[in-house]
């Protein structure tokens, strides 16, 4: 009968649900996956980034963000802001043009696509006739000049995208007065660059790929100057006063050309190959920036000597005798220079260089000596080492927050103090309601602390656990130590470094107690570190213990990786979280669950073999429990490492693919032998993949049994002060749930504070519950007498939570992948359940208790379960009656890594990875919603301020 009584027929409850729950994807944090184009408007002071998936993202002052998506999902090739407008034009790889504009709507600006357009040639003409290669938005804001592969330049009207055929600049017209011998040698080929004259809007500079450059008069429709270049052209740049321009070339050279009325066909002033004399790579983009003191800044991309440094992704800055070749960690997509756009100013006076590399954004301060990098407030490269886990902590106390920031600021001394130079728009979102931390664990053994309170995900502090261990990597092997007179003067910039020295260092589980500042971190090789926040540098010995989880299981040999070697003697730690206890599980399998109780000073950890409890006050192992089924040979031998290694090798081959895209050459340092092995591996991986595809897709239908593999895998650990033995006395307890549907409950005796160091902590197994359906246990929770989840440790002590009700009877909620089940305590008899899998065919992947407040009244809030299933749905389930409240599709079910990465907050928000480098933030709550809300106003344009010397900026043409 119960099944006919669907929840939801109660209109009062329905109304309340509308006040409590609502689903929104609010903002994407991190660095866009596969960026493909960059644009900048000095007028709006906004930057635009396009991606290969057709997304376009605009960034200004911190908090000012807009996002748009082209329906076609095609790669964005070029982005051009329309001068002095809140508009931009994008060119996609399907040759379509799109006009976007920022419009104000109900108090905030929104990015909308206004028009789309595809240039069509006369019938029968080849596609190349209209294939757009260069775009010039004219400063008149009325027309776009579109250079094509055929060499013709089409003119379209804005915003209608109407082709003005009579104004087309054909290659024939251009070639009319070119000297015969030059003309014979080369045809016009494709239009490589279009540049408007900085002082005279009626003149545009046209550069063709074979080297011919002409100055075209728009009024008279004719060529006024010919510049007969003899090298394949890459790009053009006008100098500020319009008396000269620079062209850069495929052979790594750049050339200065004079523009004067007396010589219509001038010779170049100067041609330079900056990294010659040996053959060099192309210089694909160049800036010539004037300064007050007369020494120009010459900034160019590429040009490295082909043989020795051809694989570098460099941008060189030359200023007088100073010269640095910034060496980026990944391919440079594009870059721009921020300089004075004051029309009255005599010189450019560049202040910053903004470089979009494939994996990160780097900003260089050109004003400060030494050209330091600027710490970006957004677009953080989350994936500078692959993210292996994440942990969210809501509502951080101010004290802890400040201490973390202070620890982080000591790490950031090498950054420039320059205020963030891209500062357009105004953030009008309300201040974040609380301070939230997102902690990400990485493959290289680091934990990064992110300010996740608002729209900008900002790195606060980075913790490394590597110092505790002896690793193969020699700390002296520093690639950056280049001598003074090294040529070219390369300098590594950026933080992206996906190559982990030792995969065992990877972080798998994180638990931070926000009240005490205790942090527990566990990793791939069974290492568990307990840390404490220290505001000063310190040198101390890390207490070290080993937990033999196999105990009396004899005759098995672990075939996985070895445990990490520890450093003997004291270790120097910088200010911040400093480890004081290290527990290493034996066998050193990956830690699969972790719990910390900061009040009892206990840390519990579990692997595929069992779990243990460590007293980090007395630094003593309290007990270990082996959960392994004796027949589970696979888990004993460490097949996880086998599974993992396949995963790893797959990941490696993907990386290889990525790397080979980044550069065709091998990274320096990789020996030939290793690369051969890698190639063989890649081939093997490919073969296995193909085999997997050929096998018929069928699924075995079999009930789970105790003999299944990995039943002992500890999935969840939970501390609770509850009625475990009898209903009159409560005691501390530790709960553990396994992959085989077993729940173990241990009764703990923690000595009172005054005798805490004198008496040992004792533990005794009180219960063992075997769920009949044997599905993996993913969550354990105790509800107090009021059916409220028990508070976190120290939460009550800090007056942030009501004391739990210890009078009424407690209930135990066990969440398995298949069902949610409430039991009475202490008797553990089943009270009610929700069979998710049997009814819907979905399985629980993540579950958290979340507090939902009503958007209508401040005095109502309730606790519910937020559940993410393997289908990517999010379900909200009421407590304690386990009634489904609402369901939202959130993640594609094929997106396994997205589902695996999902983390919920305590107030009904969440994050999941949409790419290795981006978190999508979502909200289930009507009350807690963090989303960008900002205004971009048109800056004042005075009548005499209408100048054209910025136009060079807007035409930032992307070179591929």
């Amino acid at each position: 009968m119960r099944r006919f009584l669907r929840p939801g027929h109660d209109p009062l409850r329905e109304r309340l649900k509308r006040d409590l729950f609502q689903f929104n994807k609010t903002v994407e944090h991190g660095f866009p996956h596969q960026p493909s184009a960059l644009g900048y408007s000095p007028f709006l002071r906004l930057m635009a980034i396009g991606t290969r998936s057709g997304a376009i993202k605009l960034y200004g002052a911190p908090g000012v963000e807009f996002m748009g998506l082209h329906e076609e999902n095609n790669t964005v090739m070029q982005i051009h802001f329309i001068p002095d407008q809140c508009q931009l034009v994008t060119l996609l790889d399907d040759n379509s043009l799109h006009l976007w504009s920022l419009k104000q709507h109900s108090g905030a600006s929104e990015l909308r696509e206004e028009h789309r357009f595809t240039l069509k040639g006369p019938p029968g003409s080849p596609p190349s006739a209209t294939q757009i290669t260069a775009v010039l938005p004219h400063s008149s804001r009325e027309v776009l000049y579109l250079g094509t592969e055929s060499g013709n330049i089409f003119v379209v009207e804005l915003p209608s995208f109407r082709v003005l055929e009579d104004r087309t600049i054909t290659s024939d017209a251009v070639l009319q007065r070119v000297p015969e011998d030059y003309c014979n040698r080369r045809s016009c080929e494709l239009v490589e660059a279009l540049r408007e004259h900085p002082k005279n809007p009626d003149q545009i500079l046209i550069g063709y790929s074979r080297g011919l450059i002409v100055l075209w008069d728009l009024q008279n429709n004719k060529v006024t100057h010919h510049f007969l270049g003899n090298q394949q052209l890459e790009n053009l740049y006008w100098q500020r006063d319009g008396s000269k321009f620079v062209s850069c070339h495929y052979d790594g050279s750049y050339t200065q050309w004079p523009v004067s009325s007396d010589n219509r066909q001038p010779e170049p002033l100067e041609t330079l190959v900056p990294y010659g004399p040996f053959p060099c790579k192309a210089i694909s983009k160049i800036y010539w920036q004037t300064t007050k003191n007369g020494l120009p800044y010459i900034i160019f991309q590429g040009g490295m000597p082909r043989a020795s440094y051809g694989d570098r992704h460099s941008i060189s800055v030359v200023h007088g005798s100073q010269q640095t070749a910034f060496d980026f960690t990944s391919r440079v997509i594009d870059f721009f220079i921020i300089f004075s756009s004051e029309p009255t100013a005599e010189s450019d006076d560049p202040s910053a260089m903004v470089v979009l590399a494939e994996e990160e954004l780097v900003v260089i301060d050109l004003k400060t000596a030494g050209w330091p990098a600027v710490h970006p407030p957004y677009l953080a490269s989350l994936h500078c080492s692959a993210i292996t886990c994440s942990h969210h902590v809501s509502n951080i106390p101010l004290k802890l927050w400040e201490r973390i920031i202070s620890a982080g600021s000591k790490q950031n001394v090498h950054y420039s103090n320059m205020p963030w130079p891209i500062d357009g728009g105004t953030n009008i979102a309300p201040d974040p309601p609380q301070r939230d931390l997102l902690l990400t664990g990485h493959e290289d053994g680091t934990v990064r602390f992110w300010d996740a309170s608002g729209v900008c995900l900002r790195l606060l502090y980075k913790l490394s656990t590597v110092r505790v261990f002896l690793t193969d990597a020699d700390p002296n092997d520093n690639m950056n130590t280049l001598g003074e007179d090294e040529w070219p003067p390369l300098r590594k910039v950026g933080t992206f470094d996906p190559y982990s020295d030792d995969p065992r260092l990877g972080i798998q589980k994180i638990y931070l107690c926000k009240y005490s500042g205790y942090l527990a971190v566990a990793g791939t090789a069974g290492q568990v570190l307990v840390m404490e926040l220290n505001d000063e540098d310190a040198e101390h010995v890390v207490d070290h213990a080993e937990a033999d989880l196999l105990q009396d299981q004899e005759g098995y040999r672990w075939k996985g990786h070895e445990k990490l070697k520890t450093r003997d003697g004291p270790v120097r730690f910088e200010a911040g979280f400093q480890p004081f206890v290290l527990v290493q599980c034996q066998p050193p399998a990956v830690v699969t669950s972790l719990a910390l109780h900061s009040e009892w000073k206990l840390v519990a950890f579990g692997t595929s073999h069992g779990f243990g409890l460590f007293d980090h006050q007395q630094k003593r192992l309290v007990f270990v429990k082996c959960t392994l089924h004796p027949s589970d040979q696979l888990a004993l031998e460490g097949p996880l490492s086998r599974v993992k290694s396949l995963k790893k090798s797959l990941r490696q081959s993907f990386r290889r693919i990525r790397r080979s895209r980044v550069s065709s050459r091998k990274r320096r340092g990789g020996s030939g032998n290793a690369s051969e092995v890698q190639e063989a591996n890649a081939k093997f991986d490919q073969d296995t993949l193909q085999e997997m595809e050929l096998a018929p897709v069928q699924r075995k239908i079999e009930a789970r049994s105790a003999e299944d593999s990995f039943t002992g895998f500890v999935r969840t650990l939970y501390f609770a002060d509850t009625f475990l033995r009898d209903s009159s006395r409560h005691c501390p307890s530790l709960w553990a749930g396994t992959n085989g549907g077993t729940v173990y409950a241990f009764c703990l005796r923690v000595p009172p504070a005054e005798r805490r160091m004198d008496e040992p902590v004792r533990a005794e197994q009180a219960k063992e519950i075997q769920l009949m359906h044997r599905a993996p246990v993913v969550g354990i929770l105790v509800l107090d007498g009021r059916s409220t989840p028990l508070p976190e440790p120290l939460e009550v002590a800090h007056d942030l939570s009501k004391s739990p009700d210890m009078q009424g009877s407690h209930q135990l909620l066990v969440v398995s992948e298949e069902q949610l089940k409430v039991f009475t305590l202490p008797k553990v008899s089943s009270k009610l359940k929700l069979k998710l899998t049997a009814l819907e065919g979905c399985r629980v992947r993540k579950v958290t208790v979340a507090n939902f407040g009503s958007c209508k009244t401040d005095d109502y809030s309730e606790n519910d379960l937020a559940v993410l299933t393997n289908l990517g749905d999010i379900q909200i389930i009421s407590l304690p009656f386990l009634k489904l409240q609402i369901r939202y599709p959130c993640i594609r079910k094929e997106d396994v890594s997205g589902i695996a990465s999902c983390v919920f907050t305590k107030y009904g928000q969440g994050f999941y990875l949409i790419s290795p480098s981006e978190f999508e933030r979502f909200s289930l709550s009507t009350k807690w919603l963090v989303e960008p809300r900002c205004i971009v106003d048109m800056p004042e344009v005075t009548s005499n301020n209408h100048v054209h010397n910025k136009s060079g900026m807007e035409n930032a043409v992307r070179k591929s």
Binding site: R3, V697, I701, E702, A766, K767, I769, A838, G841, R843
Partner: protein, 361 residues
């Protein structure tokens, strides 16, 4: 001793509860708690049919109009040769007969009572399903055999108002030799899976269906459209099922009955004994985790039994002089029962009556 006593009492028509409880109730009413008996009933055609499990008990109750005539016979006196039909019309004496698919075909083999066997599988809901479909229940309960089959994606042809249409479907792809599925003979490779425990699989992925089957593996009921349609049960008359609830089978030829709830199976009822979790108290290391009924569930059912008889006695006293039960009354009782979370209660409060009238057959 038997045959001389007649009792009349009422049951909740739509939620009769479990056979086991009913059995106890019968024994209690007749004060024959120490005897092994067979319970049978007369269906609409006058056939004498047995009541010996939850399913046929439910069928018996739901097909009773308005009275369910129940016959009780000492087990060792059951005349096994009296299978089949019209026993009642031929004999005035109450006898118990059996009827199931195997026995109907080969009626002269002497087969002991089902509870002497472990049930392995059964075809259920024959009367409400289209003839082309088969609903098979696999009892893995207490069985060491693996379920032993595989499923795959495939395409199925459906008749729709727009003509034939190809739709994705889930099919049995492989049977494990010696597995439960194969040993029943009721499932075969290339049978299309339509439902899992009453939930349609249409629109669900292979992985979802796999998960659903595994989640229900203790008591898996799958509705299939057999690839081989020749072995289907042919009903003599379409409109006359053994119960009065036969659906319009012309309409349901190509689609399942609109109600997705299994007629003879209520998932909630199964749970207390199907899925009792095992709780081990104290720190003793269990050498072997028992796989079957836990102590808790047994003791619970004991508790239920005793409280039931207690209440029964009280109700007998209270309702001694009340009149006959009407249908409306049953519904009222039914609604008062909804809140009971266990659903294993057989007799609603106040639902037991004995008016002392002697019923003659």
């Amino acid at each position: 001793q038997f045959g001389a006593e007649f009792r009349r009492f009422s049951l909740d028509r739509y939620k009769p509860g479990k056979f086991e409880d009913f059995y106890k109730l019968i024994l209690h009413i007749h004060h024959i708690a120490n005897l092994e008996v067979m319970i049978g009933y007369a269906d609409v055609h006058g056939d004498l049919l047995p009541i010996n499990n939850d399913d046929n008990f439910f069928k018996a109750v739901s097909s009773a109009h308005p009275l369910l005539r129940v016959f009780i016979q000492r087990q060792d006196e059951v005349d096994y040769s009296n299978f089949g039909t019209n026993t009642l019309s031929r004999k005035k004496k109450a006898l118990v007969t059996l009827r199931n698919d195997n026995l109907r075909r080969r009626p002269h083999i002497n087969i002991s009572m089902p509870h002497d066997f472990r049930p392995v599988s059964s075809i259920i809901d024959v009367d409400i399903l289209p003839e082309t479909h088969r609903r098979v229940r696999l009892y893995r309960h207490g069985c060491e055999k693996p379920l032993g089959f595989y499923i795959r994606d495939g395409t199925s042809v459906r008749v729709t108002p727009h003509g034939l249409e190809k739709v994705p479907g889930i099919f049995i792809s492989r049977m494990v030799p010696g597995g439960l599925a194969e040993s029943t003979g009721l499932l075969a490779v290339n049978d299309e899976v339509l439902e899992v425990n009453g939930i349609e699989v249409a629109g669900k992925t292979l992985d979802q269906v796999t998960d659903m089957m595994i989640a229900n593996s203790h008591n898996l009921i799958i509705t299939v459209k057999p690839a081989n349609q020749r072995n289907n049960i042919i009903r003599s008359s379409r409109m006359s099922g053994s119960s009065g609830q036969s659906t319009d089978s012309t309409a349901s030829h190509h689609s399942l009955p609109t109600s997705h709830v299994l007629q003879n199976f209520h998932p909630d009822e199964m749970e207390s004994d199907e899925e009792a979790d095992i709780v081990i108290e104290g720190g003793l290391e269990p050498q072997h985790i028992p796989k079957l009924h836990s102590l808790t569930s047994n003791s619970l059912s004991r508790i239920n039994g005793s409280s039931l008889s207690h209440r029964l006695q009280r109700d007998l006293v209270l309702n001694n002089n009340s009149g006959r039960e009407s249908n409306g009354n049953i519904h009222k009782l039914l609604s008062s029962l909804k809140t009971d979370p266990r659903h294993s209660l057989v007799i609603p409060r106040g639902g037991i009556e004995e008016d002392g009238t002697v019923i003659t057959l």
